[in-house]
Each structure stands twice: as structure tokens, then as C-alpha cells.
Symmetry: C2
Amino acid sequence: MPWTEAHKAETRTRILDAAGRLFRRDGFKGVGIDKVMAEAGLTRGGFYAHFASKEDLLRAVVSEVVFADLIRMHERGGKNDPPRWLAATIDGYLSEAHRDRTITGFSDCPMAALAAEVSRAGPEVRSAYTEVARDLMGAIAGRIEPQLAEGAEGSGAGDFDAWERAIALVALLSGGLALSRAVNDKALSAAVLEAARKGAKLIART
Amino acid sequence: MPWTEAHKAETRTRILDAAGRLFRRDGFKGVGIDKVMAEAGLTRGGFYAHFASKEDLLRAVVSEVVFADLIRMHERGGKNDPPRWLAATIDGYLSEAHRDRTITGFSDCPMAALAAEVSRAGPEVRSAYTEVARDLMGAIAGRIEPQLAEGAEGSGAGDFDAWERAIALVALLSGGLALSRAVNDKALSAAVLEAARKGAKLIART
DNA sequence: GTTTTTATATGATAGTTATCATATTTCATG
DNA sequence: CATGAAATATGATAACTATCATATAAAAAC
């Protein structure tokens, strides 16, 4: 058993991180394996010792890199103060820093950057994405629940429970971020972020 | 002046339509010019007589195909009954038929399918996208305005005017559609559409 | 019917891609 | 220190890409 197992795992992680960065910035089809490996400080030779194919790499990125981000987000801040956590998450996610990827500690979310490409990928990738999406929705739903119990008025829009609100929030956050990135006008882009924040807070009842 | 000008215009439109279909389904980087021309019933030879480059084709698709869709959507139904129009648009956009692209008369929206790739494109493409997005937002804002004037209560989320609501709606609609397509679980995908519809109606005050 | 203009087709080029075969390096184990 | 298994590097291949040069064909104008 030459090479320590820890070394291989560390290399794998380095490839994964590099791929995560590049896939989000340039798209899955916009980056080649050579570039991913170069970004990881390696050459293409070793790639297939870690992943079965390029698509398998995407699956792993969605599954592991994104999952790690979610954990971080989940643990950051107020388990005891859900409304604060919700507002901070909304404001952080829909911030100009996140849009411009100049953010630290709050890694760029692939929910927005990779959704379209995931929808064209094979079942393994889509299943990985589905699982991550479900976890994210669950984390948010758990913070909305107490919020919802408080103001017990009928909203008029039919019943709209915590889980549904969480799902709508994920859609609005990712859609707002993607839209703010696609638009070419600084003022409109800022308006998109602001409007999405307001909409998100309305849905989250914050 | 050989060949009638109408013929060239008609060919251009055929290429544009083919590209619109393929770009939305397989992504900009997922389709080659040969395939686009074949879909239009031509070969690659004539392409550069119509467009300066592949990216120029994307710009035209965003600008013209999408714009035509918006016009159709704008004209469909109640200028005199905004709430009905809003609800119908939300329900149609976030329907399973639209998600599965089995829809007729309500062409598949590139807002969702191409946002990420547009954000990586050059300024011409992004400007075209920005213009279309602004038109779409304006069309929606115009239908929210009267809706808003009616129920004049303070919402608690600060002022949230018609334009801001329209922007948030576009973000939620496109994000919800993209998310429902990426997810691999039939039940969750349906739940995404349903939750996004509820959220959209909350924002639209319908 | 000839000419001329231009849309389209065919063929070619240079670059890139994912993937694999083979060579080389690394380092735990004996 | 030698060995051997496994991680990484180098080199190659076949397919694909956008783009262009040249050839063909169509059809309007005279």
C-alpha cells in the first residue's frame, strides 16, 4: 500500500475544489479536464484514478462541494434566532459580493450557476443535485417554522406552509442571483438583488 | 439583386428558430453550428452570410426569438383584467407542460435556460438579454400596478412597489422553472412548481 | 438567353476535447 | 536498501469545434 491514503484523499479534494470553482465560473461545458487538473496543480494523467468520467466529477462536485457549503451555511449563526438567521442568509446570498464572487466564507452557490447544465446531465448528477436541494430546503424550512407559528393570520393566498415557503425561497434566491449576474446594467442588477431580497423576506415572513 | 430579399429573411428566421430551440434544450455550448444549420434544413456554408459568429447568433436569439415570445405573452389575454392575466401567466409559466417543453403557444422561456450562459457571454449578448428582461419586467409591472392600488395596507416588509414586485416575480418564475427542471424527483419537481406558484401569487398580490 | 449577384454547399484547417496506453515517480513494506 | 503497488506524467488518438476559401446554383435584370 504505497502512498498514504490521506494523500490520495487530499488530492481528490484538491481536484474537487478546483472543479467546483471552474465549473461555477465557466460552466461545465466551458472547462476541460486539462484545465481542472492544472488548476489543482496536476496534469491530466491522474484524473481517471479519482473519477470515472468528467460527468462523474460533476456529480461529485454537486454532491460534496455543495454539501460542504450547505453545512457551513447551516451552522453559521443563530440556531436560537431563526429570523435573524433567515434575514442574514437572504441578505448575504443576494448581495453584490456574492454576485461578483468576491465573497469569503460564503461560497458561491452552484444552485444558480449549474441548474441548467444539471438538468441536461445524466441521472446520477441530477439525483445528487436533488438530494442537495432537498437538504437546503429542509434547513430553511426548519427556520421558517417557528416564524410561521407566531403570526397566525390567514394570508389569503391559501395555506402556504413552511416547506413550501422554503422551496419558493430557494427558487427566488437562485433565480435572483442568476438574473443579477446575467443582466448587463449595474443599476438594474442592483435592483434585481434588492427586489429579490424584499420578495424573499415577504415569503419568509421576516 | 438576385434572390428575393424575403427569401433571405425567411431563411434567417428559420436558422433563428432552430437555434432558439436547440440552445434552450442543449445549451449554447452544447450545440454546434452544423447541428443548428441541419435543424434548419441547411448546411454550414450559408451560416456566415446571416450571422457574424456563433455568439452573434446567440445575441440574435435572445433579442428576437425571446422578444417575439414576450410580445405573444403580452398580447395574450386580458389587458382589461390584470389579476386574471397575472394568475394565468404564473400558472402557465410554472406548469408541468412548460417544464417538460410540451407546451404550445407559450414558447419555452430562455430566461431560465440561458441565464447562466448569458452571464458568461460578451457584452452584446448580455445587453440584448438585459433589454429583454427589462421589457418583461415592465409588462408585468404594468399588470401589478392596478392590483397594488386596491389593497392599500402596509405590508410590513417596507414599501415594495409594482416594479420591484415584477422583478422579484421574474426571478422567482425563472428560478422555479430552472429548479423544477434540474431536480430528478417527480414529486419534488411538482412541489417546486406548486410552491413557486404560491410564492409568485403572494408577491403579485393575487 | 446571357450576365451578374449572392445564397448555399463542399472541402479544408487549426484548435480543442475526453479518454486511454504507456512511462515515470513516489513511498510504505519487506 | 530493495521491491512493488499505486499515483501521477507524458504522449497519442479520434472526434468534434468554429471559421473560412472555394465551388456551385439559383434567380433577378438586361
